[in-house]
């Protein structure tokens, strides 16, 4: 089972990112569960969502303690949350940012999702949309196929710019 923990701030679309990733994995023919952790959320607070992907039905509903991948949509949460907590051996980090940071020796990937969203004018209520472009980066990392990533985006959003942004993230991922 492949487990992903997504760190973001309330209102940034972390829950939708989890659902998109699960949907793409299902379109790849796998089983997936997207479990947002619902606390007393408000816009701007540090929040977490979880995605589990497996070849067989998923029976685990508890929170992910040992992620294979940590996705940080908003690097500023690292000031208040230890995003590397419980990281599985061999785990990876994907961060929204223009270049990878040193993360205690853990392989870190970076892609400037905010920059891509602004460039594609994917902005809703003043916030850049990060959750559709990020699927392109996840496809580049081999977690889902790009074909399924696009399929998932099209199923949930009609605006073609979401797909263009995902393609940009695929091309611009930095290891």
């Amino acid at each position: 089972m492949f487990e992903v923990r997504i760190h973001s701030r309330g209102g940034q679309g972390g829950v939708t990112a989890a659902r998109l990733l699960a949907l793409a994995a299902i379109r790849d023919g796998k089983y997936a569960t997207a479990c947002p952790f619902y606390g007393a959320e408000r816009r701007g607070a540090a929040v977490v969502s979880y995605v589990r992907i497996d070849d067989r039905p998923i029976r685990v509903y508890s929170q992910i303690r040992h992620p294979d991948l940590v996705l940080v949509l908003d690097p500023s949460v690292m000031e208040v949350v230890d995003v590397l907590q419980g990281m599985k051996e061999g785990g990876r980090v994907l961060m929204n940012g223009s270049e990878p940071r040193e993360m205690k020796g853990i392989p870190t990937f970076a892609v400037d999702l905010t920059g891509i969203a602004l460039r594609e004018r994917l902005v809703v209520a003043g916030s850049p949309i990060l959750n559709t472009p990020v699927l392109g980066a996840l496809a580049k990392m081999g977690i889902i196929t790009m074909e399924s990533a696009k399929m998932a985006i099209k199923e949930m959003f009609s605006d073609q710019r979401n797909v263009t942004a995902a393609e940009a993230a695929y091309a611009e991922l930095i290891a």
Binding site: A18, R19, A22, L23, I26, Y31, A32, T33, A34, C35, P36, Y38, P57, I58, R59, V60, Y61, S62, Q63, R65
Partner: protein, 370 residues
């Protein structure tokens, strides 16, 4: 068709296919998405129902009862405090023998104010005459809702059915959902005691002790008669759509020396704990009780039993542990866990089994982790 959905959306999708004539509802977290989605279906014309947005849950159930006595199919959904606000009408629905289907998204009761998963809300309605089923996946939420209409409306049942799903853990989790073409799986509703609205009549309905007593017995007789109806409905569902359900879902129980019993999502998490324990050499199995009412008979002879209750009856104990002690004569290790959404992992469950103390009660995380 394979799609993905939350538990809430899965329930709404099943309701759309069952096509109730009347849906009356009031929103409450974490159930709101069910009634929102149904409202959208009605607005878009995909569902030809009369949607009655009411001012409270008491009114939601009252509206279902009012519509139901005319012999039409009705649905509502609620959660926690909403369920308890309608409590008086919940009793009435069963007493009036109306096959109303209601989804309840299990959530703790305040105070302290808490919106997370717990089963006590629905367990407190267990003596009302409603049938109650508890699901453990998005797919099962859909399947159980479809089956609920057929079971409730069966001529030898005619009792309401409550479909329970864990708050957030299922209501807001997204999983694959394989929808089906239901065909004639749910036959048209026929309520033998429906009132004739074209011939308005007034009755004095005060019921004397003898008649009242017989009516109570009739509820229990139908509750007993619902057992074969549930079985037959689940078998028919498996034949038509390929997914099998039983009163209790057993996992690696055949040669098990110790079984862990739980409901809802914890029952699924327990399977992973069983796999862990088996790798350690312990002959463990798990049972997920799906139907609370009618309460199933379970053969537990020769097995040690660990029961996880995500509920509590103060001054008595975990409802499932105590019930099984009474019905099956077992002396379980009773674990109280997951109240108010308390996090319980498969590692924790494996720990309950390893550290089992038959006859004792453990409040997980309060009087010590095991």
């Amino acid at each position: 068709m394979l799609t993905v959905a939350t538990g809430n959306k899965a329930v709404a999708a099943a309701v759309k296919q069952a096509c109730p004539s009347v849906v009356a509802a009031y929103p409450i977290t974490p159930q709101t998405e069910i009634v929102e989605q149904i409202a959208e279906y009605v607005t878009s014309g995909e569902l030809k129902s009369q949607y009655i947005p009411v001012e409270s849950e008491h009114s939601a159930m009252a509206a279902c009862i009012g519509a139901g006595v005319t012999g039409v199919r009705t649905f509502t959904a609620t959660s926690s405090h909403g369920l308890h606000y309608m409590h008086e009408m919940v009793n009435w629905a069963a007493g009036a023998r109306l096959p109303i289907v209601m989804a309840n998204v299990n959530r703790a009761l305040g105070p302290g104010w808490n919106i997370w998963a717990e089963h006590t809300d629905a367990f407190q309605e267990r003596d009302t005459g409603w049938l109650q089923v508890y699901v453990a996946s998005v797919q099962e939420a859909y399947d159980a809702t479809l089956m609920a209409f057929r079971i409730a409306e069966h001529e030898s049942v005619l009792l309401p059915v409550m479909v329970n799903l864990d708050g957030f853990l299922l209501s807001h989790s997204m999983q694959p959902l394989q929808s089906v073409d239901i065909g004639d799986f749910i036959p048209p509703i026929h309520l033998p005691h429906a009132i004739d609205i074209s011939d308005p009549t007034s009755y004095g309905t005060l019921t004397g002790p003898n008649d009242y007593f017989r009516l109570r017995w009739d509820i229990e007789r139908s509750m007993r008669d619902s057992v074969p109806v549930i079985r037959e409905t689940q078998e028919e569902f498996a034949r038509r759509f390929g997914r099998k359900y039983d009163f209790v879902e057993e996992y690696r129980c055949d040669d098990a020396e110790v079984v862990v019993i739980a409901m809802g999502t914890l029952g699924k998490e327990a399977e992973v704990a069983v796999d862990l324990l088996r790798r350690e050499g312990l002959k463990a199995g798990s049972m997920r009780i799906r139907w609370l009412r009618p309460f199933p008979r379970i053969d537990l002879s020769g097995k040690e039993v660990v029961v996880i209750d995500r509920d509590y009856s103060f001054g008595f104990g975990g409802v499932i542990a105590r019930s099984l002690a009474a019905t099956e004569g077992v002396t379980p290790f009773s674990v109280i866990a997951g109240l108010g959404g308390q996090e319980v992992t498969y590692d924790d469950i494996a720990g309950f089994v390893r550290g089992r103390r038959p006859g004792e009660e453990l409040w997980f995380g309060v009087n010590g982790h095991v």
